[in-house]
Symmetry: C2
Subunit: 524 residues, 2 copies
């Protein structure tokens, strides 16, 4: 205890001393030399005391074993779920020709500065250990913009699946962690209006269909329309962004709550708020856009008209792509992030998901939009690379599937082993090893016990627990006749086959099993 | 400039002020109240000046755009190489029934404390932002041990592929980074001697064969034999570990250099060093182990005999697994890490790799060993879970393949797109979109231009640059006749097919191309 306190004090004193040094050289003599000497003296005393206590590393480990707050390990079942989900998503990304990139887990702190508004306080910083000042990445969008600007890339269609870090209040049961996956698809480049934007929506539908996670709707809106709407309602331009983030809360709060916040916290007049209230209640399709283009107030706002024309074009493309019935033009959709400049979208599950006997409401499962000015923030000449993209909320998908697993609604196999090499008799390790090597060399997924003389019951139990469908069973009498037994674990049928045909026999049995499994619940 | 300087000063002053606050409350009145007030006053002045300059977020970003020292982005080509390599490795891991786990990128600092000896200084710490004290993971072995102990798991065969972090001197041209991949396979559990240990070696051979990266040898040795050897040569027990890390340098240094370090820095007597020198020159196979069991000095050391018996058993199992000719029992192999307790191994490429016109020597490409006491360090009752494992040096593999790519020895395709939907005429975007949607829905990897009226030349060029084998070409006259053209990009042959048969026609053409590609250089 004394040791720990001293360490804390020592750290603080050292830091103070260092800062004094830096401060003195820059601000000059703000601190009297006397107090500076006192600090230095105090540090020396503490260091001497620490030396008496001896090396810290030699002390035994006694602390609560846990992962860092808001983080978790993925066990083999969770990894299997995660990999299955990501594999399905990657298949869709690749179907659209997306390339894959990766960036370091930390960036220079300056790269992240000024990109996240109020949320900047949630960024994890690395300790200054001499050298550059670094922070953990907060999302994958800012690293993409940095990557494009740094490498002077003008066009890219990429996906990026990686962990990001936020010092947020974790709500782990609802799948909200401090370390979590993002799964992004973005199209960068100067193209014709709404063509890549529509493809992003098509990508989201293909992913949600592949994940088969329930009915959904893709809400779309346009930042220019929102701005135009605020303008038309009498909100001043400098209040657009903050009003926008209040509107964003409409998915969780009632209109009355949002109205109150607008008036009391954002300084919107009650009249303006009520006018906004009329608009954000509206949703529909291309007919609504047409109607709003005739709206007396909106039609006078250049931004609103631009946004509405954009939405019309987008909805038209969605029809051509065959996804019109999944799209909802919704004036209440706002999205919190500052950097969006054009279309914004959000996919929402419209039905609760059944987990065991309970219904769980999931809500938003993907979101994104157009951000045309972010790359320019990194370019010395402010050269823009327009971008549009979408992020899939995979953590929510993981947590739904993990809950289903826990409720017994689904099952997962954490290894793909097809064959277990077993023996009922003693001293068969050598023979087992030879057969395992033969099967591995033939590409057959094979396991055996690491014990010299394992019990038959334990070996069969391992097969059952791990879903291994086939066992090769070695016995002295069979081997003498040049035979081995193949056992089907679930049917318990056994069959003797010639030792030299073993690989061939197993391969055809596995092929048959694979065909059957294609109709299984996890393979689809 | 003024703005930046002020910002720096302000940060420092604020920190200083905060530290003074903390310091005062703990060490009490070391600083005179006068100097404290002066600092506070100075901070206020700076803050006022800053307010005059306006919000920082509005200022343009002016700093050198780069990734953090020792890290890099992976571009699509590098990602393709990386994913191909990892896929081959995962296939082998799964063939042996390994399950996959993942752990957070940071751990409580205490978890890493006292595990890495001198190298602890290379650990990245996170800034103390209130809450737990965290560090980035340094390897995947300690997180595995923490995972096993925390969840009270006694048996596990797992692989883990993830990035780890070391504040080392980067040598990026040689594939040494501060952020890099580790790729680990470990077997935890109380089993019979050398059975899982031998399987680890089999796994390494399968991986190196699959990567087809050149001839290699798997060196093996035993920590108990090394200890016994030191004992037999007259080194005292407390110097075993430090002598061992000197021996570990034999792959890069001459015997004379190692001998000098042993004598001058580690305090080994010249006589003892010379006796060690006799042993570490030896390498061979099971015959060498037999011979050493007869060795006058070694046969008296319990550790040496145990190590030699272990090596004999391991070599015997390697013969059964059919990998005997790839194994070399080598007394100079030591491995730096403290935590090994039994067999140790290292895979070394025996020939330089040809990159362009140059030969590059790679050396070590995988390594590992048995560590039976690490899990117990995390258990309050010191309960042990014996482990053995191997780590594949994938960064070296990546850097070899990237160099080959740069030298033009290999090529990679960064997207899998099979079909490009194009048109020579204007106003065909609607028709292109409908066809793209149809192909995507049929699972065909498809792209099109995001421009309304792209030039034919640009569209075909995109196909050639990206290795897209087929193009669907839409024209008014063909469509009127209910036809579309399919163009083979490399042969430039075009063929008209009925519009309604398009999906079917494309699928059979892609199937043919896939069969051809299986003989290509990247598919093996």
């Amino acid at each position: 205890m004394l040791h720990k306190t001293l360490r804390v004090l020592e750290n603080r004193a050292t830091k103070l001393w260092l800062h004094n040094m830096i401060y003195r050289s820059s601000v000059k003599k703000t601190i009297t030399t006397t107090s500076y000497c006192k600090i230095k003296e105090e540090v020396s005393k503490l260091l001497a005391l620490k030396a008496q206590l001896g090396s810290e590393d030699a002390a035994p480990q006694k602390f609560v074993l846990k992962t860092a707050k808001g983080t978790r390990d993925y066990n083999p079942q969770q990894m299997t779920i995660r990999n299955n989900v990501l594999q399905k998503i990657i298949t869709v990304f690749k179907r659209h020709g997306a390339e894959c990139i990766d960036t370091p887990v930390f960036e220079l702190k300056e790269v992240l500065t000024g990109k996240y508004g109020e949320d900047s306080k949630l960024i994890y910083d690395l300790k200054d250990q001499g050298g550059e000042i670094l922070s953990l990445r907060y999302d994958l969008t800012v690293p993409l913009a940095r990557y494009l600007a740094m490498n002077k890339i003008n066009t890219l269609k990429r996906y990026h699946i990686a962990k990001v870090y936020r010092r947020d209040n974790p709500a782990m049961t609802r799948g909200r962690y401090r370390e979590f996956y993002q799964c992004d698809f973005d199209i960068a480049g100067q193209y014709d209006l709404m063509v890549p934007d529509a493809e992003c929506l098509k990508v989201v539908t293909e992913i949600l269909d592949a994940l088969d996670i329930g009915k959904y709707v893709l809400k779309v809106n346009h930042r220019r329309l929102l701005d135009g709407m605020f303008e038309a309602c009498g909100v001043s331009a400098d209040m657009f962004r903050s009003t926008c983030s209040t509107i964003d809360k409409l998915d969780k709060s009632t209109w009355d709550e949002v109205r109150t916040e607008m008036i009391n916290e954002k300084g919107v007049t009650p009249d303006a708020a009520d006018r906004i209230g009329e608009y954000v209640r509206l949703n529909g399709s291309i007919e609504l856009a047409d109607k709003l283009l005739q709206d007396e107030k909106l039609s006078k706002s250049k931004g609103a008209v631009e946004g509405l024309e954009g939405i019309k074009l987008l909805l038209n493309y969605c029809e051509l792509l065959g996804i019109k019935d999944k799209i909802l033009f919704d004036l209440s959709l706002a999205r919190g992030l500052d950097y969006y400049t054009g279309v914004i979208y959000e996919a929402v599950l419209t039905q609760p998901i059944k987990i065991g006997n309970e219904d769980q409401t999931i809500g938003s499962i993907a979101g994104g939009g157009r951000y045309d000015n972010l790359v320019g923030m990194f370019d010395s000449k402010n050269k823009q690379v327009p971008c549009v993209g979408v992020s899939i909320g995979v953590e929510r998908v993981f947590s739904v599937l993990e809950a289903k697993l826990a409720a017994g609604d689904i099952s997962v196999r954490t290894s793909d082993v097809d064959v277990y090499v077993a023996s009922a008799q003693k001293n068969f390790l050598d023979e087992r090893m030879k057969i395992c090597a033969e099967l591995w060399n033939a590409g057959i997924k094979t396991e055996q016990s690491y014990k010299k003389n394992p019990k038959m019951l334990n070996q069969l139990q391992h097969c059952e627990e791990n879903g291994i469908p086939l066992a090769v069973i070695l016995g002295e009498s069979e081997l003498k006749r040049g035979l081995v037994k193949i056992r089907n674990i679930s049917t318990r049928q056994e069959e003797e086959v010639p030792r030299e045909n073993l690989v061939q026999e197993l391969k055809s049995k596995i092929e048959l099993l694979d065909i059957k499994e294609m109709n299984g619940p996890l393979a689809k």
